[in-house]
Symmetry: C2
Subunit: 132 residues, 2 copies
DNA sequence: GTAGAACTTCAAGTACACTCGAGGTCAAGG
DNA sequence: CCTTGACCTCGAGTGTACTTGAAGTTCTAC
């Protein structure tokens, strides 16, 4: 399978696939007279990268995640990521609640409506300070 | 309240606050002899922006969301965003499941483990193609 | 009234994640 | 054989979201 086919199968552009290889997010493809030659399993690797990217992992994070699989460092990393994913989920839930409230209410401006969310986020304001 | 105080209260840097104003994500602050003078309500506006950003909204999206509040266009936009938030939540859930499975299993390499997720994402693969 | 912190604008710089273009190679059909 | 389209590398370009720095002004405390 050549790069165009893998691109079609995964929905990842050719240039992005080359970029992922260069960044070591996916294993370097075998070459047949210079051209990349992929197998079905490579689509799996790309799918993992895609999922991680969509879940908000940076290139560097994905590299660590796929590059050090199974080892102790990996477990620690994965556990940390799991926490981050849970936290991002929580923030998304808040945003969903905010949007639903805003769609529901009849306030004339966001300043007033916004108090809904501030009251909410104030509860854990100082606690969640100094992230990132 | 001057910009430094608002920055402290919200956890958003001074330069980012100026940037947000310039990008019209927050209302332009009243000036007292050239310097920005904020009120408590402005912290609300910043909180809304922060939440939206953390939920994955781009600057342009936040601008639309806060700039056209209440109008018809706004409702349509907000409903679309709500869908996006739900979808992102779903992807995060998948990533969480993947991480939990990987942490649980004893596969020697990610290629094998990855089949778990590919089997999963294949179910809705072609359907969710051509997003973005 | 003067030091120094905090503020101002504006332009330029940075990090990330790709994307594009030039210039060239390879493979399949007519 | 030759065209056409997909591929190659490599360096430069793009968009996003800020950050930093220069050069100057204002506020606060002594």
């Amino acid at each position: 399978m050549k790069i165009g086919e893998l691109s079609r199968q995964t929905g990842v552009s050719r240039s992005a696939l080359r970029f992922y290889e260069q960044q070591r997010l996916i294993p370097p493809a075998r070459r047949r007279s210079g051209q990349r030659d992929y197998e079905a399993r490579d689509a799996t690797a790309v799918a993992v990268v895609q999922l991680a990217r969509k879940a908000g992992f940076s290139i560097a994070e994905v590299r660590q995640l796929v590059g050090e699989f199974g080892r102790d460092r990996w477990r620690r990393l994965a556990l940390r990521k799991l926490d981050q994913v849970r936290e991002t989920s929580e923030r998304l839930r808040e945003m969903r609640v905010l949007l639903e409230k805003l769609l529901d209410c009849e306030c004339p401006d966001l300043d007033f409506c916004g108090r809904i969310i501030q009251k909410h986020s104030a509860r854990r304001g100082a606690a969640s300070r100094s992230r990132r």
